[in-house]
Subunit: 647 residues, 2 copies
């Protein structure tokens, strides 16, 4: 627009501090667009969405050297009053698209009126990032087609999206194109387009439809989790998890690879069952949140390289043999329908990038959640799953590796192990003198004695960490991992030729059995933790690190593991306990962050390329380190920070 002879006024936006001279009569929204100020507008300036609410400063604001007056704007309109309460009006709130500028003003843009709202993902670890999803909803009103202007529907929509939202060179999903004319006519030429990556229209809905959802998925070797998020607020509106049904075809990565190789339809089967499971999780999450599957406009996926390949449908054969090359490293955008996923018809699925054959998109998820590449502290990240992933380094250099821990830490391959779900024992304490056990059960509040365990059905990962650590501290387990046979307690007994310790008595459990930890369970945990510890030791040597500044324990345990228990059993070398953080499912958090912020997707590709994979199991020293690490907490290494506890 040209306003050659119009007077100009000083407009200052806060908190950005942008200032500029604006033609008289322009709206605040137009001014924000000219000055590049981030201000939300879903309806494209038609005063129908109420998203562009701003507050106008009042008086001679010396700090800004301006005399900002609310009467410097056009009077408040009735349409605005639908969105601005009486109270807000008195506070100087206006809709930026309605208020026209007739004098100098200071405009405050509140957090909720920015397109890039800041989201705090986990208060504990202070993960904060801007809300900037890949899919954006754009409402437009089209001029109906007439004999004088019979232009096509798509060109009409395209032109309006360019005009109102500055979107150029847009394409439209083929399936969405097929239903476009109906959507436009049902909405009486008013339509909300969902635009993916400012590139493609992936949904077209009649009239104004603000809400849109996305789902972040973490495909673990043993468990699968889905987080349904509101793309307009960043909130998680539903969480669902389940066993990975591929477990039936092999417990760990290697056995799945073998299954795919040795069975004619192996790959197809493994792909089909995981897609089916994801569809079920997403359906359940949608029901829980009370939304339609068609309102899910985006999906991000993390998982280790093998889970990634099986999900995408790539033969994992070459992951299982030297040189263990994946089929691709870069992130991948595929139409959900091509993958067989039932979300919005035009939606894409974004699979995060891969670091190496054994360090996958799940670890990339952890990295973009924890951002070691932005820190100067020497950071160790341990992501505990069926396959354990290790990252060591800081902004200067990052190395990663993996170790086959087996599914013990996820509650599998443990006699009474179970997934972290209601009924699972998640915390354990053992009195060193009486050997009496106290425990916490998921879904129940407070601590219980081992005689009063309402509905317990097994022990989940965090419970196993606690149980072993507490058994060791209470003298039930020796340093070597063997049971202390001198112990006189009915809890220590032999069943089917194997020693075991009773954690919960049968009377109140839901399974009608005592819940125990057996010698074989202890061995499984020892093997897993020794593998982790040995890996960390070798990495620390490689990088020449003197001491760890910070240790992050991640893993899909459902509840957080106790960092002290982890250190007592010897999962990682000594570190001040206040610098150890148990962050839960950081891979899942990473998937969620990538779902809500496209810039983090770019960052993910950059860091996946930057981090250097180190093969540890071929290291000559691995075997020795592994054997030493079998002990609780370690055969040789000292743990000054545990001194008081270990005595």
């Amino acid at each position: 627009m040209e306003h050659k002879n119009r007077q100009k006024h000083l407009v200052i936006f806060q908190p950005s501090g942008r200032r500029g001279h604006i033609d008289e009569g322009e709206t605040i929204l137009e001014a924000s667009q000219e000055m590049g100020v981030d201000l939300e507008s879903v309806c494209g300036g038609r005063a129908t969405c109420g998203k562009c609410k701003v507050r106008i400063g009042e008086g001679s604001l010396k700090k800004y050297r301006i005399d900002s007056r609310r009467e410097h704007l056009s009077p408040i309109e009735d349409t605005e009053k639908k969105f601005v309460t009486k109270h807000q009006e008195l506070d100087g709130y206006r809709l930026a698209c309605a208020a026209r500028i007739y004098g100098d003003v200071v405009v405050f843009v509140p957090e909720e009126s920015r397109t890039a709202k800041q989201i705090v993902c986990k208060p504990a670890t202070k993960r904060a990032f801007d809300l900037k999803p890949a899919v954006r909803k754009c409402y437009v009103e089209l001029a109906p087609a007439t004999l004088d202007n019979p232009a096509a529907d798509w060109e009409r929509l395209q032109a309006e999206l360019t005009k109102r939202f500055g979107l150029r060179n847009l394409t439209i999903d083929y399936q969405v194109l097929l239903s476009l004319q109906e959507a436009i006519r049902r909405g009486d030429w008013k339509i909300t387009a969902s635009v993916w990556m400012d590139r493609e229209v992936i949904k077209a809905e009649p009239r104004f439809r603000e809400r849109g959802y996305g789902v972040a998925v973490d495909i673990g070797t043993t468990t699968v989790a889905a987080y349904l998020c509101d793309l307009t607020t960043g909130e998680v509106v539903a969480t669902e998890s389940a066993m990975n049904p591929q477990v039936l075809y092999g417990e760990d990565v290697m056995s799945r690879i073998s299954y795919a190789m040795e069975n004619k339809k192996g790959l197809k089967t493994l792909n089909r069952v995981i897609v089916k499971q994801l569809n079920q999780l997403v359906r359940e999450a949608a029901v829980q949140a009370g939304i339609k599957l068609g309102d899910i406009l985006d999906m991000t996926v993390v998982g280790n390289t093998c889970m990634h390949h099986l999900f995408v449908g790539i033969n994992p054969e070459y992951l299982g043999r030297a040189p263990f090359s994946p089929s691709l490293h870069h992130s991948l955008d595929v139409k959900a329908r091509d993958l067989g996923l039932n979300i919005a018809e035009g939606a894409y699925v974004h699979a995060l990038p891969i670091e190496a054959g054994f360090v996958g998109a799940d670890n990339v998820g952890v990295l973009i959640a924890e951002e070691p590449y932005k820190q100067d502290k020497m950071l160790l990240i341990i992501d505990i799953g069926t396959n354990g992933e290790l990252v060591l380094g800081n902004q200067d250099k990052l190395i990663c590796s993996s170790c086959a821990t087996g599914p013990a830490f996820e509650g599998a391959n443990i006699k009474y192990g179970t997934r972290a779900a209601p009924g699972a024992i998640e915390k354990v304490e053992i009195d060193p003198d009486s050997k009496e056990v106290r425990l916490k059960v998921i879904g129940k509040t407070g601590w219980h004695t081992s005689l009063d365990t309402p509905g317990a059905n097994g022990i989940c990962g965090s419970g196993i960490f606690d149980a072993i650590a507490q058994m060791f501290l209470a003298g039930i387990l020796q340093k070597s991992g063997r049971f202390n046979l001198d112990l006189k307690t009915p809890r220590l007994r032999t069943t089917e030729g194997q020693l075991e310790f009773v954690i919960a008595w049968a009377n109140q459990t839901s399974i009608g059995h005592d819940i125990t930890v057996s010698q074989a369970d202890v061995r499984a945990v020892q093997l897993a933790k020794a593998s982790m510890y040995a890996g960390v030791k070798l990495m620390v040597h490689r990088l020449g690190v003197k001491k760890l500044d910070k240790v992050i324990l991640a893993g899909a345990f459902g509840s957080y593991i106790d960092k002290k228990s982890a250190m007592i059993i010897g999962l990682f070398p000594d570190c001040a306990l206040e610098n150890v953080y148990a962050v839960g499912n950081a891979a899942g958090d990473g998937a969620r962050i990538a779902l809500l912020n496209v810039d983090k997707r770019k960052e993910a590709n950059e860091v996946a390329r930057k981090v250097q994979y180190i093969e540890l199991t071929t290291d000559a020293d691995f075997e020795r380190q592994f054997v030493q690490a079998m002990h609780f907490p370690h055969m040789e290494d000292g743990f000054p920070h545990l001194k008081q506890l270990l005595g």
Copy 2:
């Protein structure tokens, strides 16, 4: 590469005339790339494809002010001799990728070594364009993955395509990605990638595979034609045509729209039958050419707006009611598999753009074939089909319109009408005195008498034009279209209450009947031609055109119609016969041109936006013009150029 201290030599490329100074030791191919000279290289400079053959000038070439010596190049290598014959060697031929520069040279790039080869589409109309298909084959040799460099397959391929072919930001089709690792390993790390629009890898084949094919399709309301082309030469290697099976559900555009609206699965049925028919045509063409369906890497489609919508799967409902808006104007690229078409798994289908609700992609095909927008002569293009399309104008302005002619000109709705296929009578001559008929039959050579018509099974479009024109000239038909009842010949008779004229006697026809033209047939042709003529008259008035400089008759007749017959029956106003061109299926030619040259796709979008649609049937004068045009050749208008014939 840096060659700081190297000597430089003058290199001149012909016929482009580009000259520049090149570092000593560089290859001619490298020089051509630096200087932007178009020189083919499929293998990326590995001397394995032999495509970059050039001829070196010899002696003191004064014209170029250079002393060009063949010994200024590195000696010919054994690898080159696989491609350069002894004879060629003596003539100074070399492979540009092998010959290194050690002195001044003039390099002649022969036609066949240019990527943009010039193709002459139809010698008759001198349509020439550069061969520049959307899909390009790129051969690369990858370094095998090792433990030291276990980079992923796709990133490895991507890097090599960037290095050898300058292709950046490439993506890969999801299905192709799934099979990539197998292709790479089966080819022992040598692979040929087919790249679409320099953007996406749509096929990956082991080892060097040069050949690639594309298919251009013209979906007419009554007939469908497919042209299978070799993308490396531009040649048509097979042509197939068939009836449009949608005819079963309605003969013209309007009745198909009704069928789609009135039947629950109407749209789905119409879409399914045409896709099935195209699959069959393409399969037959592939068999004819001896190639695999998977080697068909591209497809272009033209058709009127309704055919376009039904093919794509868009509800045609709104094409049938005011304001007759299509769903989109712009060209559309959709994965063949999404449309249900069985060609290469990753291939795209390019549907050409649409001008208006009644002037579709077929007319755009005609426009890019005939290019009226590049001419200063006043051009009339008549595209005769079930729906007739008219274009009038030149480089200054172009208008288009359409008229419902019905399928008479395609041989349908005519008693003995048939598709232009072997057995169809395609040419007719009638002796004015004896009323004896001579005719030509598709698939047979020479003229036949009406007693000797081996295997004739009906009359196709061009035959109908001839028959009516000849009947009129011979006095069998009156100006009004009625039969001349004074005529004494057994050929004029009444069958089932209707007058008809025998064109061929039963004895030799393959159908065991006399082949005749009935009064109803004549009426059908009159209605069709009157509609055309009236349309042209109104357009001529609208544009204020005094006289037509050139008339182009296009249409899918199989064989070319006789332009004199067309003028005698009165299809268009008077024009010097030498300026009337019958060009056959120009829409199909346009599809073929768009298949072989991507620039023409862009041009198609530009012209589709530029040409202005004129609604003629609502014109107050249409009815009067139509009635006058019912006569042969016209009730009032004179035809000075037919004076001699019409007497």
